[in-house]
């Protein structure tokens, strides 16, 4: 048994220590908003925050997470859709199929903390999650809009 702090809750999980955090979240805790995309930390669909830092949870093992570290998933980003990234995403209708968007939103939320007033070049360099629907134009616009809303 290991204790995790997820979205403000202390939770006991029972899984092999080398289980990727992604599967702990999805299968043990039922938090299916975080998605599996590639399993090799290349696509970013599984992005969550650990102590506010974006990580690709398919490549973080359960044993690597300390009990005092706080994990935030898409379900815990805001209680009421109030995060500026969520607001901007809704306003500009960013998602198409939506599958990568939990990861995009978590990556963008972390990015916005480091770049409160981002340039196009910052976004190009900082947003590396993949989207096959090709929503990148609106992801860029969404981050800029969120910066205004923040």
């Amino acid at each position: 048994m290991q204790t995790l702090t997820v979205n403000g809750n202390n939770l006991e999980v029972d899984a092999e220590p080398d289980t990727p955090l992604l599967w702990v979240l999805r299968e043990q805790l039922g938090l299916t908003g975080t998605k599996y995309g590639c399993g090799v930390a290349a696509c970013g669909a599984c992005t969550v925050h650990i102590d506010g830092m974006p990580v690709r949870s398919c490549q973080v093992q359960l044993q690597d997470v300390r009990p005092e570290e706080t994990i935030t998933t898409i379900e815990g980003l805001s209680p009421d859709l109030s995060h500026p990234i969520q607001q901007a995403w809704l306003e500009l209708d960013v998602p198409q199929c939506g599958y990568c968007q939990s990861g995009q939103i978590m990556a963008a939320a972390a990015f916005l903390k480091d770049y409160p007033d981002p340039t196009d070049e910052d976004i190009k360099a900082g947003m590396t999650n993949l989207c096959r629907c090709g929503t990148y134009n609106r992801i860029k616009a969404g981050i800029k809009r969120a910066a205004e809303l923040s």
Binding site: G33, G37, G39, C100
Partner: protein, 803 residues
């Protein structure tokens, strides 16, 4: 009226909170089992021995099944009954499923699958177009050949002539949500299947065959997919059938999802093509004759390859009136994944062939390529006598009296359709297949786009810039698209809908289309809301369900909103007319005078809420549930002759792309893209512009960074995002302007809108042409840029241009 408004995607709120549920997110019962396939490690050969004892003994394994354990049909083909779920003695590609493991967890199933010992006596695999041509390894008895005019004579008579070749790679779909299915056994042997599929009826059909039950014992439900792009038209069959068979065998729910590498190794991709061309033209850039030879690798099984190759032929003209043309199409059978549907369905490959011809002709003449293109356009809509192409002759037809074998709801059944239509051939402004182009608007669209993006001034500025810069070179190119809308297997152009209105005035809407991100559900809900004059918030969008609307066609060929929008409109109108008739009788007025708008119903001077009107109808015992049905009119097509009217109309678009290349490394960037796209009178401009942006990005990816590589044993070496590069945020054009050409469709489509899913994909071709232009700035010779234009290929083209 909600039609025409840029309302957000129906699941927008769910997408941004992680609450949108995909197949693998559905909570499975606690006793559910997980599946994994054991795969062939050889591209071609005979299985001589199989030792699965270690698999059976592995932790958590409940069952291991081979072909011999399948009780009924062992087939997941959508066409030719040539695709066993599990290999039967022979293997045909590296990655073919040979056995399946049923275990208590996904991880245990996958680990166990690696323990199988399958001995295969290998044969030399046929991997390339060249080796398949040499071995005459093909589908159908020979090449399909369509002709218009006397090509041989026209080529001989032409004052100028050139020959060339373009090879274009395939494309992995890389839907971010890989394939997934969940089968839930029911009482009496029935089965409920959740599948990430664009074609629920196909899943229902194949599962029923595999279980030995009629289709009415299988219900398939699809709420949404995490991307489809054609990859989920037929490729989900294997998982759904495997889950259903395992669920039947164990009596427990079974689920399966492919890991990314398995998904890329097992499933089919876009067809790669080699197109050879022989062109006759004159000094003004007018193309007088073209002889195309299209060769495509279909992979090991037929799947949907015949209609894909047909559509490549059907788009060999793109936007250009060709008086003399021959198109020869070879559909080659190779020991690789069975190539399948992918956004555009062969159209992009055909279009790239003729766009390459225009590019090379312009280079040979030293003319501007946009001018050469306009010179060869079809005549404009206003310059052609109106009316549709000749309708099919009204001759008596015979019908088979026994049930047809095969997969009649699949595009793959095209090859076995014995019911060839009588077709008429138009005499002016006709395509190579005899269809009159009566709705061509690219002249106006091109003028508008070139002016809007300042094409000619930028072209001059780029030439100046290139003269002053040695290492970096810029390029700019314009390309149009004219894409035929309809399934080329005519009978698939039908759709059904089921609409209920409840006594509180809320509406429940269901239709045969599936949602994969394209916004279909919202667009169709806007149609429903508009018919009742209510807000779209009162329309509940529900999962596609074969138990509600039967005999659906795949959500494919860009047809989703055209077909399902009309079917929902018909259902809503039936209910609305019943309510109107009821109210008219009560108010002693004409039903035509009952008005539904702004959530209100006006009748005989009285104004009531929609809810009150519904309640009144209910109290008067009026049925508030209806089905709707639609079939596209005026289609007639003979694919063997290559003659007729396969399309209801053409969707069009135009793009200009500017790029820069590094002549030392071949690295390149898209600097700016301008697009003007024709979505008719758009049902939802916000969603449609999203489709245009995404289609362009995906099309540009196909022709630049996305390279599939097989080794000489037939192993796909690019089977993960670490080696197969789809466009990332940093590949997005630096400047990206997209506008809709907002004019109503002359054809009678739903609210005069046009299909938008596939056509903009082909606008990505302008990126390839712009790279060719940049390479051409490096020297006097034609750069002969192949596709994909990876950095390596750009570097080779620079070298060729230098001569």
């Amino acid at each position: 009226m909600s039609v025409g408004k840029p309302l957000p995607h129906d699941a927008a709120h769910l997408h941004v909170t992680g609450a949108a549920r995909y197949v693998d997110d559905i909570p499975a019962p606690a006793n559910a089992l997980s599946l994994a396939f054991g795969l062939s490690h050889v591209a071609a050969g005979t299985i001589t021995a199989m030792d699965l004892s270690a698999v059976r003994a592995a932790p958590g394994v409940v069952a291991v099944l081979t072909a011999e354990d399948l009780p009924f049909d062992n087939d997941v083909s959508p066409s030719n009954h040539d695709e066993p779920l599990l290999a039967t003695g022979e293997v045909h590609y590296m990655g073919q499923p040979v056995f399946m493991v049923v275990a208590d967890s996904h991880l245990n199933a996958r680990k166990a699958a690696r323990l199988g010992r399958v001995e295969i006596d290998p044969r030399g695999p046929i991997l390339s177009i060249e080796s398949a041509m040499e071995a005459d390894s093909r589908f159908e008895d020979g090449p399909r050949i369509w002709t218009k005019g006397d090509v041989g004579q026209a080529l001989q008579d032409a004052p100028r002539r050139l020959q060339g070749r373009i090879e274009m790679g395939g494309q992995e779909h890389f839907y971010l949500e890989g394939h997934a299915a969940l089968a839930l056994p029911q009482e009496g042997g029935d089965m409920v299947v959740h599948s990430s599929t664009q074609h629920p009826t196909e899943i229902q059909h194949k599962v029923a065959e595999a279980l030995g039950v009629p289709m009415n014992a299988v219900r398939v439900e699809v709420r949404r997919m995490g991307g489809g792009f054609g990859g989920k038209e037929s490729q989900g069959n294997a998982l759904a059938v495997a889950c259903a068979v395992a669920a039947r065998a164990t009596g427990r729910p079974c689920r399966m999802r492919y890991d990314r590498d398995d998904d890329m190794v097992i499933t089919g991709k876009r067809h790669d093509f080699r197109i050879d061309y022989d062109v006759g033209y004159d000094d003004t850039g007018r193309v007088l004759a073209v002889d195309f030879t299209q060769m495509t690798r279909c992979g090991w099984a037929m799947d949907l390859s015949l209609p894909v190759a047909d559509r490549a032929m059907l788009h060999a003209d793109n936007a250009y009136l060709l008086d003399a043309v021959r198109i020869t199409s070879h559909r080659l059978k190779t020991n690789t994944q069975s190539a399948t549907a992918y956004r555009g369905f062969g159209g992009p490959q055909g279009v790239l062939g003729i766009e390459r011809v225009m590019d090379e002709v312009a280079h040979a003449l030293g003319m501007d390529a946009a001018d050469v293109r306009r010179r060869n356009y079809y005549r404009a809509m206003g310059d052609v006598a109106g009316g549709p192409a000749p309708r099919p002759a009204d001759s008596p037809r015979s019908f088979p009296t026994e049930m047809k074998e095969g997969d009649i709801a699949s595009r793959g059944s095209q090859a076995f359709d014995d019911d060839r239509a009588e077709v008429g051939v138009a005499s002016e402004n006709t395509t190579p297949y005899g269809m009159k182009v009566a709705d061509f608007i690219l002249h106006e669209m091109t003028d508008a786009l070139l002016e809007r993006c300042d094409y000619f001034a930028r072209r001059d500025a780029i030439a100046q810039w290139n003269a002053e810069n040695g290492l970096l070179k810029r390029g700019i190119a314009f390309s149009p698209v004219k894409f035929g809308i309809s399934f080329t297997l005519t009978h698939l152009n039908q759709a059904g809908a089921l609409v209920h209105v409840y006594q509180d005035g809320s509406v429940h809407m269901n239709h045969g289309g599936t949602e994969m991100g394209q916004g279909l559900f919202q667009k169709v809900a806007q149609v429903a809301a508009s018919r009742f004059g209510i807000g779209v918030d009162r329309v509940k969008i529900t999962a596609t369900d074969t138990g509600k609307v039967p005999n659906t066609s795949a959500t494919a060929a860009s047809s989703g909103s055209d077909l399902n929008g009309m079917a929902v409109q018909a259902a809503c109108d039936t209910i609305r007319d019943r309510i109107a008739a009821c109210l008219a009788e009560l108010h002693q007025c004409s039903a035509e005078d009952v008005r539904f708008a702004d959530g209100r119903v006006r009748v005989g001077g009285e104004d009531m809420s929609f809810t009150r009107a519904v309640q009144t109808a209910y109290e008067n015992r009026v049925s508030l549930s209806a089905t709707g049905f639609y079939k596209t009119p005026d289609l007639a097509w003979d694919r063997i002759k290559g003659q007729g009217r396969p399309f209801f109309y053409f969707a069009q678009g135009a793009a200009v792309t500017e790029v820069v290349i590094d002549t030392l490394t071949g690295e390149n960037r898209i600097l700016r893209t301008d697009i003007l796209h024709d979505a008719g009178a758009s049902l939802n401009p916000g969603l449609d512009i999203g489709q245009v942006e995404g289609g362009y990005v995906q099309g540009a990816g196909w022709l630049t960074t996305e390279e599939l590589v097989w080794d000489d044993k037939g192993r796909l070496t690019t089977h993960a995002p670490s080696t197969y590069k789809i466009p990332a945020c940093s590949d997005r054009p630096g400047v990206f302007n997209v506008d809709l050409w907002d004019q109503p469709n002359p054809a009678q489509t739903v609210y005069r809108s046009k299909a938008v899913g596939e056509p903009p994909f082909m606008l990505g071709i302008s990126a390839h042409l712009a790279l060719s232009d940049a390479c051409a700035a490096c020297g006097p010779a034609y750069p002969d840029l192949q596709a994909p234009a990876t950095a390596e290929e750009v570097l080779r083209a620079v070298t060729r241009a230098r001569g």
